[in-house]
């Protein structure tokens, strides 16, 4: 089904899709394909955000109609026009907006992606419900990855070992429950959440602040490629094939929370970008969770404040989070691994299942000598039962915790 009727995609006459739309924008005056092209080209103009776009379309009846008006009239409808918006509109009208739309679709295709307009069937439902939904999305990977239930996991770009560990556990648990992990591909917590979801064999969606053909940050290009290769998707509001343009983090953050039914802030200092995502989630009426941190940790200050101000629910464990979301872990534990562990290895794993800790602490708790402890940890790491961040603190992986306590340790 194509969600565009003569009365327009959002006009409410198309019962199948219009029913769940916020009907603020009347439909296109001309053909559906032309209106779609008009959306793509109009949305690519710098300074025309989701709100401005909706205002323009509602004022002139359709995007195609709007593009027939003078650039000045269009700019007059925008709440916050860029200095370059007028020039860009003029350029659009002179070179023909149909051609520009075609070029943008071609650029997306060249990058291996597709264009999804808010009126398309493939446009994610959760996002479509939002008042300030992006009119056009560029997607690399499987667009249907956006259709599944999703939870956003976000946090600081400069996490502590604790934050990375929590991000992994939470993303792992979410992914194993069959839920998509949405994040922003940023360094730190975001990247770790994507990675953990992939490692768990799950699905993850990265919302980019940059066009899909220019992955930001560049250091996560490999991760981005893996996300696409393993059934996930990269999403961006920014048109591809353009050389200029700064990464737009604020718009990115809004899409992250908008794609997800709940957002989890894992670790965020004061004034972290992740707090903007949290604010967006609240504004969008979505559930917000935060992982608490030590009271003396700068990296957790933002999270702790969200909890203290009753803005976010406190996450006590990955499992409790899923429970609160009404989900449960799908995978069942396998126990045969435990049978092959030596006494020392079982002892170490048992201690780590109770509480993660440094080698120093483990030595005291397990009464093992350092050499035995070091070799046991390597073996447990090799079997995926134990992981460490930076080789300082070790923790039992979720796989290990599902197996349960092989041995009780004081």
């Amino acid at each position: 089904m194509i969600g565009v009727g003569t009365a327009g995609p959002l006009g409410g006459t198309d019962e199948g899709r219009g029913a769940r739309r916020l009907t603020v924008v009347p439909g296109p005056a001309r053909g559906a394909a032309a209106e779609r092209a008009a959306w793509i080209s109009l949305a690519s103009v710098p300074g025309i955000g989701p709100v401005g776009f909706a205002a323009v379309v509602s004022r002139f009846g359709s995007a195609a109609a709007a593009l027939d008006e003078s650039a000045g009239d269009i700019v007059a409808q925008l709440p916050r026009p860029d200095p370059e918006t007028g020039d860009a509109l003029l350029h659009l009208q002179r070179s023909g907006w149909r051609r520009i739309a075609k070029e943008l679709e071609q650029a997306a295709r060249r990058a291996g992606g597709t264009v999804i307009v808010a009126t398309d069937a493939a446009y994610p439902e959760l996002l479509a419900r939002l008042e300030g939904r992006p009119p056009v999305l560029y997607v690399l990977g499987r667009p249907d990855a956006l259709a599944h239930p999703a939870v956003a996991v976000v946090g600081t770009r400069r996490p502590s070992g604790y934050g990375l560990s929590a991000a992994t556990d939470i993303a792992d648990e979410i992914a194993r429950a069959g839920i998509t992990v949405v994040s922003g591909l940023a360094l730190g917590i975001d990247g770790r959440a994507h990675l953990a979801a992939l490692e768990a064999g799950g699905r993850t969606v990265a919302v980019l602040p940059s066009p899909i053909d220019r992955v930001y940050p560049p250091r996560h290009r490999e991760l981005a490629a893996r996300i696409v290769a393993e059934g996930g998707a990269l999403v961006s509001e920014a048109p591809p094939g353009r050389l200029s343009g700064k990464p737009d983090f604020a718009r990115r953050n809004r899409i992250i929370s908008g794609l997800a039914q709940a957002t989890v802030v894992v670790e965020a200092p004061d004034r972290s970008g992740a707090l903007l995502t949290a604010a967006a989630a609240l504004a969008q009426g979505r559930e917000l969770y935060a992982v608490p941190g030590p009271i003396d940790s700068i990296a957790s200050r933002g999270c702790n404040r969200l909890i203290a101000d009753h803005e976010a629910e406190l996450v006590t464990s990955p499992a409790s989070l899923l429970h609160r979301l009404g989900l449960s872990t799908r995978n069942s534990p396998s126990t045969h691994v435990v049978a092959t562990l030596s006494e020392a290895e079982g002892l170490v794993l048992g201690a780590l299942i109770k509480r993660s800790g440094s080698i120093e602490e483990l030595g005291l708790r397990s009464h093992l000598e350092t050499p035995a402890l070091a070799s046991a940890l390597t073996l447990l790491e090799a079997r995926g039962l134990v992981a460490s961040y930076g080789g300082v603190t070790f923790h039992a992986t979720l796989a290990a915790r599902r197996i349960g306590h092989p041995q009780e340790v004081p």
Partner: protein, 499 residues
């Protein structure tokens, strides 16, 4: 009239015999020194003139030419003074007509004719022995140093006068007793592992590093004892073997870093240059090549605290000695090779603020700052560091006590060291060969090692290093056979875990 004396010079860390010829001829009075003589040698003219006069001899008012052979070898330093003076006296007939004793002469002259010691006397005496002269005369202060060279008669002289008396057979200088190789005694003022709070993995890694001569990298926030642990390494070093003792002493003699009364070093060197050290000072070089810290650490430890603060080119210059145990210095006159087989102990902060990866603190660095900081360590150098330990603040200060003292660890290190020497003659870190063959791994464990390598994403070069580490772990346990647990422990020190 012509006269000829033998002296020696230092090239790198080796002594090379130098023939000193003097000719006194008719002509305007002058004293010319030829044979690629450097500035210190040119100044010998003034010292030699005064010394000869003040010892009651005279400088002939003739045309005097002194040649230092081989003439293509650049000569530096003051060790030829004595030989030049004696050759001039011989050429002007002041030593009498009887054949003078054939011996090598080493020493710097004071204006009053007394002899001053010169650096590298040990190497110079060894050069004299290689030139097949029966005896060598050295400044009195350097007698014990020179006498640690065997198979040559060493005599100490206080002045040019005494030397001449000996040469003409008037009053023979006594031959020095061969300097015995001293017993080893524990170094003083070295911190003890018992004083280190916590950090079990770093302690253990230090033990393995010293026992197998593997290189070590400790990273972690400031103030948690990285430097202290590295410094403890000095207390774990076993004594130098006798052959090594003379070799090491010679290098230190050339650098002028020797105690002339106790010239033979038994303690393994432990060098900790400051991070402002120049490349030349670190690996050696200069117009007159001097051994750098890398060579001074030969058979011992080179400790680089805050390694990332060192100049990048200085660090990169360490690649060759880490790989091959020598430093090659290219000169216009040809390449010089200095021995530099050391155990490298390093520490660094993981980022500019120091808190990256810490469980208790958040890193406060800008994005990418940590990466740029760590990039100062080049890939090839990173590859050559065997043991990596990421340290964090100990969180259980009160509960930690009774840490093992250095003496107990040193005992294990010595045993492991002996096993390596008896089995293969070199440290485990120097083993060569195919994966597993080098360390004597059974094929089952080679398979396990490969499997672990795939799991942890280790390079083939890293696997070789792990195999050698496992060999040392087994040696520390007193076991000839390497067990799986030894490999697993060796893998605990992989750099990928600390990344």
């Amino acid at each position: 009239m012509l006269s000829e004396m033998l002296s020696a010079t230092v090239l790198g860390v080796d002594g090379v015999p130098v023939q000193v010829e003097a000719d006194v001829a008719f002509g305007l009075p002058s004293l010319t020194i030829v044979g690629l003589a450097g500035s210190a040698v040119q100044e010998a003219r003034e010292r030699v003139r005064s010394a000869i006069r003040n010892c009651g001899f005279e400088v002939p008012a003739r045309r005097i030419t002194v040649n230092l052979a081989p003439a293509d070898l650049p000569k530096e330093g003051t060790s030829y003074d004595l030989a030049i003076a004696a050759a001039i006296l011989g050429a002007s007939g002041q030593l009498g007509l009887s054949a003078t004793r054939r011996c090598a002469l080493i020493g710097e002259l004071a204006l009053d004719g007394s002899l001053r010691p010169v650096p590298g006397t040990l190497a110079l005496a060894a050069a004299a022995r290689s030139a097949d002269v029966g005896e060598v005369i050295v400044p009195q202060a350097s007698v014990r140093e020179a006498a640690s060279v065997r198979e040559i008669s060493v005599r100490g002289a206080a002045s040019l006068g005494e030397t001449v008396a000996h040469l003409v057979g008037l009053r023979e200088l006594p031959a020095a007793e061969p300097t015995p190789i001293p017993d080893w005694s524990a170094p003083i003022g070295v911190p003890d592992l018992a004083d280190v709070i916590g950090q079990p993995l770093a302690r253990r890694a230090l033990e393995i590093a010293i026992a197998g001569r593997h290189s070590l990298a400790l990273s972690g926030p400031p103030g948690i004892g990285k430097t202290l642990i590295l410094r403890c390494g000095e207390g774990l070093l076993p004594p130098l073997e006798e052959g090594e003792a003379v070799e090491v002493s010679r290098i230190h003699s050339v650098a002028g870093l020797i105690d002339r009364r106790e010239p033979v070093i038994r303690r393994r060197p432990f060098r900790a240059p400051h991070h402002t050290v120049s490349t030349q000072a670190l690996v050696g070089g200069g117009s007159r090549v001097r051994p750098g810290e890398a060579s001074l650490a030969h058979r011992g430890v080179l400790m680089l605290d805050e390694m990332l603060q060192f100049r990048a080119d200085a660090l990169d210059a360490l690649r060759q000695p880490l790989e091959s145990g020598v430093v090659t210095i290219a000169r216009v006159e040809g390449a010089l090779t200095l021995p530099a087989r050391f155990t490298l102990l390093t520490s660094f902060n993981p980022c500019p603020c120091g808190w990256r990866g810490s469980h208790r603190h958040a890193c406060l660095c800008e994005d990418g700052a940590a990466r740029r900081y760590l990039a100062r360590l080049s890939g090839p150098l990173r590859d050559r560091l065997d043991l990596w330990v990421a340290m964090d603040e100990p969180d259980l200060r009160d509960e930690l006590d009774g840490a093992e003292p250095s003496s107990a660890v040193a005992q294990r290190v010595r045993t492991a060291w002996r096993r390596q020497v008896e089995r293969q003659g070199v440290g485990n870190a120097e083993l060569q060969g195919a994966l597993g063959d080098d360390a004597g791994l059974p094929s089952r464990l080679v398979g396990l090692l490969r499997q672990r390598g795939r799991r942890f994403g280790l390079s083939p070069r890293r696997l070789h290093r792990v195999a050698r580490l496992a060999r040392t772990v087994a040696d520390l346990a007193g076991s000839e056979e390497i067990r799986q647990a030894d490999i697993d422990e060796a893998l605990a020190y992989r750099p990928e875990r600390t990344a």
